[in-house]
Every structure is written in structure tokens, then in C-alpha cells.
Symmetry: C2
Subunit: 603 residues, 2 copies
Amino acid sequence: MSLLINPRDLQFILFELLQVESLCQSDRYAHCDKAMFVAILDTARRIAEAEFEPLAKICDEAEPRLEGGRTILPDDVAKAVNAYVDGGFLNASADLGDGGQQLPVVVSQACMGYFVAANPSLSVYPFVTNGVATVIGNHGGAAQKKLFAEPLRAGRWLGVMAISETQAGSSVGDLRTAAIPTEAEHYLMAGSKMWITGAAQDFTENIVHLVLARIAGTPAGTRGLSLFIVPKYRMPASGQPAVWNDVNVVGLNHKMGFRGISNTVLSLGDRNDCRGYLVGEPNNGLRYMFDLINEARIWVGTGAAALGYSGYLRSLVYAKERAQGRTAANRDPNTPQAPIIEHADVQRLLLTQKAYVEGGLCLALYCAWLVDQSKLAAAAGDADRQADLVLLLEILAPIVKSWPSEFCLEANKLAIQVLGGYGYTRDFPLERLYRDNRLNAIHEGTYGIQAIDLMGRKVSMAEGRGFQLLLSRMRETAGLAKKEPALAWRGSQLERYLERLAAVTRKISGPPGTPASEQTLANAVHYLDAFGHIVVGWLWLRQAMAADMALRGGAQPEDAGFYKGKLFACEFFYRRELPKVNHFLDLVEQAEATCFNMQKDFF
Amino acid sequence: MSLLINPRDLQFILFELLQVESLCQSDRYAHCDKAMFVAILDTARRIAEAEFEPLAKICDEAEPRLEGGRTILPDDVAKAVNAYVDGGFLNASADLGDGGQQLPVVVSQACMGYFVAANPSLSVYPFVTNGVATVIGNHGGAAQKKLFAEPLRAGRWLGVMAISETQAGSSVGDLRTAAIPTEAEHYLMAGSKMWITGAAQDFTENIVHLVLARIAGTPAGTRGLSLFIVPKYRMPASGQPAVWNDVNVVGLNHKMGFRGISNTVLSLGDRNDCRGYLVGEPNNGLRYMFDLINEARIWVGTGAAALGYSGYLRSLVYAKERAQGRTAANRDPNTPQAPIIEHADVQRLLLTQKAYVEGGLCLALYCAWLVDQSKLAAAAGDADRQADLVLLLEILAPIVKSWPSEFCLEANKLAIQVLGGYGYTRDFPLERLYRDNRLNAIHEGTYGIQAIDLMGRKVSMAEGRGFQLLLSRMRETAGLAKKEPALAWRGSQLERYLERLAAVTRKISGPPGTPASEQTLANAVHYLDAFGHIVVGWLWLRQAMAADMALRGGAQPEDAGFYKGKLFACEFFYRRELPKVNHFLDLVEQAEATCFNMQKDFF
């Protein structure tokens, strides 16, 4: 049994819920079929288990460190990353023409789930590299694509995103790193970057940093940011030695989680010799970077779910094996102790985790599937459908980033609880998963910032069309469920939550074009809490409908338990989780102002 | 400003809420006065800041390790513990006749708050030592008191509790360590003990282990457990060298938090030469140990609140200093960035923490104050009043252990969130506080076990008298609040929650003498969640009433902000936290059975 993600569940989400094999009817995915997807998923799991997972504890304990200008990493890091590249996962969803496998994004995200669950730190290298190559591919010139995107796609070099600075973390518009034009085609870069992940390693011959910086004289704020390619080494014509590009790792940040990958403070241009190559047009940097940022939000969601998932499976195995105490029905101390899974409260800890992690993973894969749908609409020249899909993705982006980060961290907390004292020892990976997952609600945009993005921007975007599209998809599911005797009550319940969400959303939305008030935004996180729970509840109902159909269709006996588990988890979510939404929406509806009115001198 | 606990808040809880100075009217505390309490609190804070806090990061990073039979600890651990002992804190609340200071327990617990906030690992040594001395003092023979309790009380030796075994963690009745009677006064101990905190150190000349073990032939389960004193060294008549008592540290557990104190696997009697001295009567061991266990529950609650409190203060300081972004009212990127405390969502993160940590600390100190009240009742020979106070403490014990462990851990999570990326680096102590606090919902009885204790035993104990006593204290506060215009609404709100809690409690209680059903107990944690929130809500109302009175009485200007903060935190708790209780009580009332009915094969 895999301790990363349940392969049966992945197949259920991909083939029974999202019917990913139907993508193969399109030209884009005509070279694929279901058997191929299954084989690729299995390969991903095997590489994750064989190459990534054995390094997880080692990477956690032996953080990267700098020694005499070199970065010391645990042995086998390069080998593991190479196994990933050699397995074809780096460019799994890139176009065939770009050397990729042109797989559906939903399949490559599912594979990514295994890798993050096995070793989150190592999974960052290929994820970011793929993102950097994509941005250069989308917006760079032909020479840049050849010089930089190709070796990235081949996995010979790795890519790094360099956005934040010490004074500008959440507030991207306050970046100061300067790009000074020269007579030549390059700019001279000057400034320092903070929180730069993966920038200290020397197992690849080069690193390509994608740097947001400000060309002198451009406007303040985000509208004055441009995007630059800044390699660690400049690669002259073949035969010549590489030239160091004055990119300086001046420090490492030491984190509670994701400890296996360097998180660096970079200084660019200490010797006034750091060359940057402008990508696309000046002042469009943040827009280009968003190609990567939206993808990163799905990736964070997948990863948070995967970390939660692995904790769930490990606590499940433990609960079946560990004997401790007796059930309430048997207090005779002369009888053997019972496996703790027989205790009702341990079942609660496990079922809560199951509902969170399978729900979170389903949400992340649904969003990845929307990316595929939007690619197909674009390929088919159906601009309206593509625009709709992009709006759906826009409204879901803050949710897929945030919901798993919050609730699958909670799952990790509960996994520790199942193991009791063993849960908090470092002999088991539960406490590490919990530490790793704690970063996800912060990096790539905090929970609070995602909430403001959702409430202040996304629900009202395009006159609220994204919101209406999502609502109608969810209403459709509720309507279908109401026709199924076993699920009718849940369909009605979902419908009630949807109408409440719609009503509250109408109430908080001012006239078109006016931003939400500061007092309204003060409860943005609770709007995100409620919205996320409703979306996950919707997907749980879809999972329950698929399971119910399979059971009615006469599932194989060995599968029946799996499907019944889905029904139980959906039941759990509707009876025990969704009711929490009411309180959150009450706060939003009232624009509850206690926090807003609190004065800083009263703390 | 202290970064451990706000001294102003401690004074508020002790003197304005609990009126601790009135204890000095009793004979027991006649030697004390308020000025003395204030001076002692200040001394505790200074020693905690000067001796404990500077070692916190060092202790976290340099875990105890065994080397050639010795335990390697960071330098200055012994110095810090000695400073605590020399300051008189080890026996702060012990009787004058036992060499203590005979201070109110509530004052010594408040002092303990500073020490745990400064360095939770170091605080364990004196806490457990005091507990071991108390148990020996209460139940040991005269020779045992002289031989063992005295050097413990003097801080020359340290004490250790040894209950758990590998196969018996939560299930104490399954302990197997054997005590074999001999012709002499001692037993020969044989067995191994797990999770034994503080047993590996050699900076004191001896360690006294209080060991639960089973004399051959006694009944299975908890009724067959006896208590033994097992010293690390046997101390013969003066002039003779100490003899090692065959207590073997065979391993160390490596934990995610509380890393500065050893957590050991002990083996007793590998050479068949481990002598244990029976305390009191055979088969009463667990009952004796409970003197220490109830005290430990208050200590865990105090500590969890203190760790949360320190995180809150540190995130508050950061939020006032760190400039990032601009408020919704000002989006001009040319203006300077605002301190993040001006963002409404950061105010929410801070006010949530304030409500949790000040509420949790107030709960813990209230319980400590009840211990003092019960001592005074005993001294006055008022057996009825003493019995009532003990019942109140019994029903509050699972709550004071659990509520701060859950919600002040959440506070630590939010403190990290305030700091963003800095929050998860090890440059700031926030991530360490979060790791430390994660242990509190597990050690000394898990959250689930406390919940079963509350629902399955404590509410129905003595025909529910403890519950009724607590309810009437809470009703009294609600009634008083209803007469105050500013707080009347909150009084009514509290009353409604109290009536609901009473009704649900009646419903789940079977006929007297019958245990709660397994299905009812399956929701015990939600009963604990709800009950804990109501109790903390009650104490928040008491805090608000005291603050309101002070403001109406014309508080000093520099104090007015403090009192207004109390009113805001109470408002926060009533508007945003207490409503969550309804959902939890719904689950309890319905005996919601999804988790209970889940089958292990469906996971």
C-alpha cells in the first residue's frame, strides 16, 4: 500500500469523476489513452517512493549550507531530481514541439501529488523550473527560448523565481531591485532578493533566475515592474568557459519546513556585473509572472493536499496496528487491548482527515482539469468557452491555494494526534509533514491576501461572470443529486448553501466598479472559509454521486468498501463541516466590525 | 515590555478579577500581602527573562544526548534551574513547615507562566520535582519524606514521574513493570518505562523516580497498580559513597517540541538490582499519583496559555514595527508602506490570539485559585465547602488541560501568520513556540481522553453536583451582567448558552449510574469544545465586567487602553467564537453517528 496517496483514489478522481480519458478525443491528447495515464501515474509513484521518499528525513535534517562558496546538499539530491527528469515528468504537460509529453495538466498534477507527498523540498526544483521555462516560452524572444528555455526543459539547468525583497514580501509593488539599461542588449541588475527558493545548489551547470525589477524612471507600484532573465552563469559560444554573472548568495533562511531546499538571500550586481535580459515589453513583468503564479497556486493546493494525504495514510496504518485500551463496550482489563481504530474518537480523527485530504486533492485536480479544458477550448478556437474557463480558474485560484493549506494542515495536526506521543517524535514523519505544510498558507500569497483577492477582485471580475459560472456548475450538481433518493437531502442542503452564498455575495458587492469597503474586506477570510467549504462540499457531493453510481452498478466486492468510504466522507462533510459555513457567512453578512474597530493602543 | 506575558494582565487577573489579596485575610496566607505578590511576580519575570529565555533557542537546537554514559546538556541549564530554585520558586506554594514559602497556588502558577513562556523545557524540571515531593509528602512514610522529599524540596535532587510504558500510554491499566517483594523493606523493580521526561541529566547528585508498577498477584487493570520511589542512586548513611540503583537510560525520544529536556526510555533492573520503596498501601498507586495528575493538568493549561501568550506578544511587536503594503483606503504606491497592524486582517489575527491566550491564562489561574480556596476550606474545617471546590476542580480539570492546548496552539499558528515568511524561519521563536505547544494536547492525557473524562465521568460525578455548581457560578455572572447596560446583551447571550449546555447535558446523561453510551461518547470532543468555549466565554464576561467597572471608576489614562482592549476581546469572543458552540452542541445532541458508524474497511 502506498503511504503517499491512495492510487485507487487518484484513479477515482481522474477517471470516474473527471473522466480524464475523454480528453483523448481531442487532437491535443489524441496520442494518449487511459492505459498510458495509469502507467504514468504508476511510474510517478514508483520514482517518488524509490528516489524522493528515502531522502525526506535526510533532507529535513541536513539543510543546505554554504561552505567556501559551495552549497552542501545531501548526497543523492541530484540523483533524485535527475530520476524525475529522466522519467519525463519535468515537461510532462509541455507541448510535444517543445520536447514535452503533452500530457493533460490534470495527469501531471496528480503525479506531482506523489512527489510532494514523498519529499516536498525536492519537488520544488522541477516545479519552478517548469514554470520559468513556461514564462520564457510564452513571453521571451526566440533567442531567449533557445538559450534559456531549452536547457531548462531538458532539466540540464534549473529555474528560480525571484520576486520578493526584504521590504517587499506581500507588497510586490514596493520592489526596488533596479535594472539599468546599457548600450548592449542586456540590463545591469542591482538589488537584493529575499526568500528565493532553490537558488543555492551547484548540481546543475547553471541556474536561470526570473527576476522582477524596476527600470529607472518607470511608475511606482506594480505597473513599473519588468521581468528579466538573470542566469547564474553567462554561457558564451560553445568552447568558451562560462562566466559568472555576479549573482551572489549572501545568506540562507532557515525554515521550520521544506528544509531540504535552500531558501536564499540573493544580492545581484555587487560587482556591477550582473546582466539581466528583458523578457517581452517593459512594465509588463507582473502580468507575465502571473502565468506562473496561477499555476503555482494550483501546485500549492496539490502539495498541501498531498502532505495531508500522506499524514492521513500513515496515521491510518498506525491506527490499524497499534493496540491501546479497550472500547467503551469492553472494560475488562484481562482482555487484549484493541487496535485504536476501534475507538470512536480515532475514527473521527481519521474520517476528518479523509474528508479534508481527499476533498483538497479533488479540488486541486479539478482546477488542473479546468486548465486542460481551457487549452482545448483555445485549440478549438472557441474563445467564449476559453474565456469562461479562465474566469472559473480565476475565481478558484485563491480557493485552491488556500483551502488545502488550511485544512490539510489541520489534517496533519490530527494525524499527529492519532499517534499520540509517537506523533510528535521525529521517528515518524508526521511532525515533519505538519512542519512542511505550515508554509503553504504563507508562501505564494498568504491566506489573508488570497481572501482579499477572492472577495475584493475575483467575485466581481467581469461583472461577476466567473462567480455565476461556478454557481451554475454547483447548482447543476445539486439538482442532479436531488433526483437520487440516497443523495437528495444533500442536494437540497448544497442548494441552500449556494443560495445563501449568492445572497451574501450580492450584499457585499457594491455597485459595479466600486471596490468592497475596508470594513467588508475585514471579514474576507471568513468569506474565503465559507466559499472554500462550499466548493469542497460540492466536489464531495460529486464524489458521492460517482460512488453511489458505481455501487448501484454492482461494484466489485474489493471496491465496494472504497466507494462506501466516499459516501461516509461526504456524509461527514455535510453533517459536520458544512454547517460551519453559516457562522462565517453571518460574520460576512453583518460586516462584523470588532476586529476592524479595534485600536492598536488597546492591544 | 515583556515578551513573555503582559505583567499588567497578570495583575488584572490576580487582583482585579480574582482579588487574590483577599486570600491574605486567612491564617494560611496571613504572612503575605499584595505588595509581596507583585514583587514575587516581578522576580519570576526577571529570572525567566535573564536565565530561562536566553537558553530557549539553544535548548531547542542542542537536544540532550548520551555520550559514554553521561548526558550532554547545554551549558547553563543547571545554572538556570538553580536560579529558579534559589529564587524560591520550587516550593513557592509548599507549606512553611516543609521549607516552602506557603504562597497561594494561583500566585505560583502565575510565576510558572513566565517560566514556561521563557523556556518550556526547563520549566519541567522544577514542576515535576515539586509534584513528586508533594506525592511523597502526602502519602509517604516519615523516613521517605526525610530521605527523598527533603532533598527534592531543597532542589538538590530532581524528581521524575514514570508512568507510561511502550504498550501502555493512554491505557495506564496495562502497565507491566513488576515490583517483586524481598525480605528487606524494598521491592526489586523490573520493567521498562517510556516517555519519561527529565530522567537523563546528571547536574543534580540524584534523581527520584516515582514509578507505577504492579506487585505480582495483584488484580489486572488500574486497581493493581502501586507506587514506588526509585532513586537513581541509593544514598547510604553519610560518609558512604552513593550506590547506583540499576536505573538505565536506554534511549532518548526526539521530539518536535520541548526539545531541551530529555525524554527517555528507562529500563529498571537490568542487573536485578533496582530497589523500589513502596509509597503508602499497595494497589493505591494511581490514586496517589492523581495528586500530581490534577496539578499537572492545570500546569499544562498554564503552559499552553503561556506559550500562546508569548507568541501573541511577539507578533504584536512585529505588527507594530513591520511596514508592508497600504490599507484599502490608500493605494498610492508613492506613499510609505503602513505598519501591518493597520491592516484589518492583521488586527483579526492579533485579536483572535489575544482572546485565546488571555482567556486561556485566565482559565488556568482561575483553577489555581480554586485550589487555594479548597485549601482554605480544608484549613477552616469546612468539609462541605471543600468538597464542593474539589468537585468544581474535577469538572474543570479536563477543560483547563485541553482548551488552552487547542486554542493557544491555534494562537501560535496565527502568530506565525502575522510574521509571514519570517514567522516560519528559525530566526524568530514563533515556529518553536508552535512546535512546543503541539505537545500539550497529547502529553498528560490526550484531548480525546480529557473529553471522555469530562463527558463520561465528570459531569455526572456526585449526581452532577460539580456541573450544577459550575453552572450556578456562571449563571450568577450572567445575571449580574444583565444589570449592566453595556454588558446586558452579553449576559443574556451567556445565559442562553448555559441553558443549552444544561439541556444537552441532561439529554446525554442516562439514568444515574449508567455510563454514557459509546455512540454518545463518540462526540465527547465536541462536548469538550463547546463546554470549554462556554467556560472561557464566562471568564471573558467576568473580565469585561471588571474592565467596565474600572473604566467607569475613572481609570488612569495609561490604563484606559488596557481596559478597552479587554472589552474588545470579550466582544470578539461573544460575537465570533461563542456562536461556534451551537454546531458542536448540535452534534452532541443528535449523537451524530457518521464517525461512529464508519467501518475500518471503508478507509
